[in-house]
């Protein structure tokens, strides 16, 4: 998707800012819907966002978006000005959501280089209907408010009201001004001229007399020009210069009517303007979208930076651990090398921290999903969000958004019961789905929890049996193992397919997506109490702390987070079970052993456990041993994915990627989750 974005920077900025505004808008409307309706500050904000979207979309010639935003803006303008009492909040929210969705779709089209050809007429029509309905209601019911407004309105501004003394001026003039055809709002342009003149002239009289915002007034100025009579002490040339400075001036006809006392200026002029002071009372709280000191950077640049820093970490290791240096006495070199290492480490940390973004926005997106679903399914659900400040790498955010959506949908669709059913079970009417994020060591845990009906062990087993997915005797299986069956491809306990959580492809997709970024998924549930799904996700994908091993001539790296200990066993600790599998006893516990040289078919002289090294690895609470020739050492490595041609040829089990070691040789990164299945 990234590379499809057009290169035109204006368009990029437009898309980026408009999507941000839409997200902000969505949150505001959700808040309104949940609360008791539209607060003044909310209306102002929605109005402002719609107004801004209208403006920028019109600049980019996306008429359909602009027109829709304009319609919505009108609606909220009405809400702001008239403050009607009976407003169907959810109705309006629906319309705004529809608009948001429409604009989002159009933006997506624009992003992909397609024509934004959606038809917004229908949504715009429904918004217009709401508005005219409101207007009708307001006219009949809220008369008092209307009258009050009318009283407030005539706050007229009398131009040059301080110049009462008529005889003060020497000359009288007549001017006819034509504005350029596309200048718009001619009446206010005219108003501007009068305002300018009022500094040097008095007794101003003009035609049309009333510069109200009506199309008649504007048309008249367009057709006949703006006619002004006034008196002034300034000379013809000075007046001419002043008026010629009028912006958007097309033609000026200025005539000197001679010395003062002309009939036309007899009346005391009250160039009255009905200006109701509508100062936009801005919400004091709320988001200040543009904070100085923060810039937005294209992610591809960050990726590049990360790559470069990764290369530099490797290059640094290649220099400082260069085999040519072996055995040399290089005191100063090592001092300098340590300094270099310190700086590269710091650089690496800084770049990493730049890439970290809070999970908040992803979580907030779920609110909309829960809202839509609870409406559709007629359930009452609230979404609780905990720890949205927790930060993860930008790349990871992209990978967990879909799985999270699946889980939330599952929880709302299959987990939470309808209100009546909940009441019968002595539960609160409203179901709660909790999204929680927290740091746990090198991982981030994201937990999706619901207080719905939970998983039934028997149902899952029955279903698994019918699908022939049972790996072993059901009675031997622990609850956790039973729940893990859910992640098998094609498994779904719900028979009918619903619009939201689909055909049971959900859970195994979740598993795949999370595994792809080196994370794990666990499910826990109590019947009747609800279910919780925990995603454990590494903080970053790019750099890991690894332990390097050697097997024959090949090198392997195991992520430090999954290593428990390393040891060289004694002969008597090794047992062979009746099925021929090798088991290692450590402090009275038995662990299965995986021989790397056998798994990957590597030639090595060390095949006896007592000559090599055993690394104990943990994967989701399951411990097992990996057997290698020797440990080389611990090192931070930059994860590179396996080249595409290798991945295409063969799916190799247990490999998460590869990396370069200090001496330039390639090491394969082992994936504990994959190895556990081997």
């Amino acid at each position: 998707m990234q590379d499809k974005i057009t290169n035109e920077p204006m368009l990029d900025v437009y898309i980026f800012e408009t999507s941000q505004l839409l997200e902000q808008l969505e949150q505001t409307v959700l808040k309104c819907e949940k609360g008791t309706g539209f607060a003044v500050s909310d209306i102002n904000e929605i109005f402002r966002i719609m107004h801004t979207i209208k403006g920028s979309s019109a600049m980019m010639m996306f008429q359909n978006i602009s027109v829709l935003a304009h319609t919505a803006e009108d609606l909220f303008y009405f809400l702001r000005e008239e403050k009607p009492e009976e407003v169907d909040c959810s109705f309006i929210c629906d319309a705004v959501f529809q608009s948001i969705d429409f604009i989002k779709v159009e933006l997506e089209k624009i992003k992909n280089g397609d024509k934004a050809d959606g038809d917004s007429k229908e949504i715009a029509g429904s918004i217009k209907n709401i508005l005219s309905e409101l207007k009708a209601n307001c006219g009949s019911v809220n008369m008092p408010i209307d009258e009050k407004r009318r009283e407030e309105k005539p706050k007229k501004y009398y131009i040059s009201q301080d110049r009462v003394n008529i005889s003060q001026y020497k000359y009288a003039y007549k001017a006819v001004i034509f504005f350029e055809d596309d200048c718009e709002l001619e009446n206010i342009r005219a108003f501007t001229v009068i305002h300018e003149l009022s500094g040097t002239a008095g007794e101003i009289c003009h035609e049309p007399e009333n510069l109200e915002d009506t199309s008649e007034c504007i048309e008249k100025i367009q057709k006949d020009g703006f006619l002004i009579f006034f008196q002034s002490n300034e000379s013809y040339e000075q007046i001419k210069e002043l008026l010629e400075n009028t912006i958007f001036l097309k033609k000026l006809e200025l005539t000197n009517l001679g010395e003062k006392g002309h009939e036309n200026s007899k009346d005391t002029v009250k160039a009255a303007e009905g200006i109701s002071k509508r100062i936009n009372d801005v919400p004091k709280e709320g988001h200040s979208s543009a904070n100085q000191g923060i810039i937005s950077v294209n992610v591809s640049k960050l990726d590049k930076l990360m790559d470069l820093v990764g290369e530099m970490v490797i290059a640094e290791a290649m220099v400082t651990q260069n085999p040519d240096l072996k055995g040399l006495e290089l005191g100063n070199f090592h001092k300098a090398a340590r300094q270099l290492k310190k700086i590269t480490d710091e650089l690496q940390d800084t770049v990493m921290s730049v890439r970290m973004v809070p999970l908040g926005p992803v979580f907030l997106k779920m609110q909309r999903i829960v809202r839509d679903m609870s409406k559709q399914l007629k359930k009452e659900i609230t979404l609780q969000i905990i720890g949205e400040d927790t930060e993860v790498d930008k790349n990871i955010i992209e990978h967990i958004s879909d799985p999270l959506m699946h889980l939330v949908r599952n929880a709302a669709d299959h987990g939470i019961e309808p209100p009546e059913e909940r009441l019968m079970q002595n539960k609160d009417r409203t179901g709660v789905i909790t999204l929680e994020a927290k740091n746990a060591g090198g991982d981030v845990r994201i937990i999706v929890r619901d207080d719905g009906k939970g998983l039934k062990r028997e149902d899952i087993l029955k279903k698994a049996q019918s699908l022939n997915l049972l790996p072993k005797n059901p009675e031997e299986m622990e609850d956790k193992e039973v729940f893990n069956l859910l992640f098998l491809p094609g498994f779904s306990t719900k028979d009918d397919v619903s619009e939201y959580s689909g055909r049971g492809v959900g859970m195994d997709v979740v598993m795949q997506n999370i595994r792809a970024i080196g994370g794990t998924v666990t499910v826990d549930s109590k019947p009747g109490k609800g279910m919780s799904t925990t995603l454990s996700i590494p903080l970053t994908l790019a750099i890991i702390d690894g332990m390097n091993l050697r097997v024959g001539d090949s090198y392997y790296t195991i992520p430090m987070v999954s290593i428990i200990e390393s040891l060289r066993p004694r002969e008597r600790d090794i047992i062979i079970d009746p099925e021929g599998r090798e088991i290692l006893m450590i402090r009275g516990q038995s662990y299965p052993v995986l021989r790397l040289h056998r798994l990957y078919d590597v030639k090595t002289k060390i095949t006896c456990f007592t000559e090599g090294i055993i690394v104990v690895v943990r994967q989701e609470g399951k411990l097992f041993c990996i057997f290698a020739d020797e440990l080389i050492g611990q090192q931070q490595v930059v994860v590179k994915s396996l080249p595409a041609y290798i991945r295409k040829m063969k799916q190799i089990k247990g490999l998460a990627g590869c990396t370069l070691l200090g001496d330039g040789s390639i090491s394969l990164i082992l994936d504990a989750a994959g190895l556990a299945d081997c």
Binding site: R48, M61, N187, N280
Partner: protein
């Protein structure tokens, strides 16, 4: 070189205006993303011209305009508005804005207006 301060909360609009004016190549640009910043920047750089968006969060363009005019009555401020803001446009004219331009505006409109305001 004339100095222009562009005030708008949207990067997009600031960029649009800048792109339009840049083709003339004789301006030095400053930007502000909200009213408060606009006033600060004005005091700091004394621009020859300010383009001021009306609708911005926290502090509207009109409030910023008033503060700028209060600080420098000779300030040349041009409001950027859209249809539907007639009342606010009037208020800004009364508060000292030299003129206004309506979104969506064309490049030549923008250029002509700016040139006239700066008398070049």
């Amino acid at each position: 070189m004339k100095k222009i301060l562009i005030v708008d909360d949207m990067v997009f609009m600031r960029l649009s205006i800048k792109n339009m004016l840049e083709k003339e190549g004789q301006f030095e640009f400053y930007e502000a993303s909200n009213g408060m910043e606009a006033v600060q920047r004005y005091k700091e750089f004394k621009p020859d011209l300010v383009t001021m968006d009306i609708t911005m969060p926290d502090m509207t363009g009109i409030e910023a305009l008033k503060l700028i005019i209060e600080y420098d009555p000779k300030a040349v401020v041009m409001m950027i508005s859209a249809m539907g803001q007639e009342a606010m446009v009037r208020e800004s004219i009364l508060s000292g804005a030299k003129t206004f331009i309506i979104k969506p505006f064309k490049e030549e409109q923008m250029l002509k207006t700016v040139q006239k305001l700066l008398s070049i």
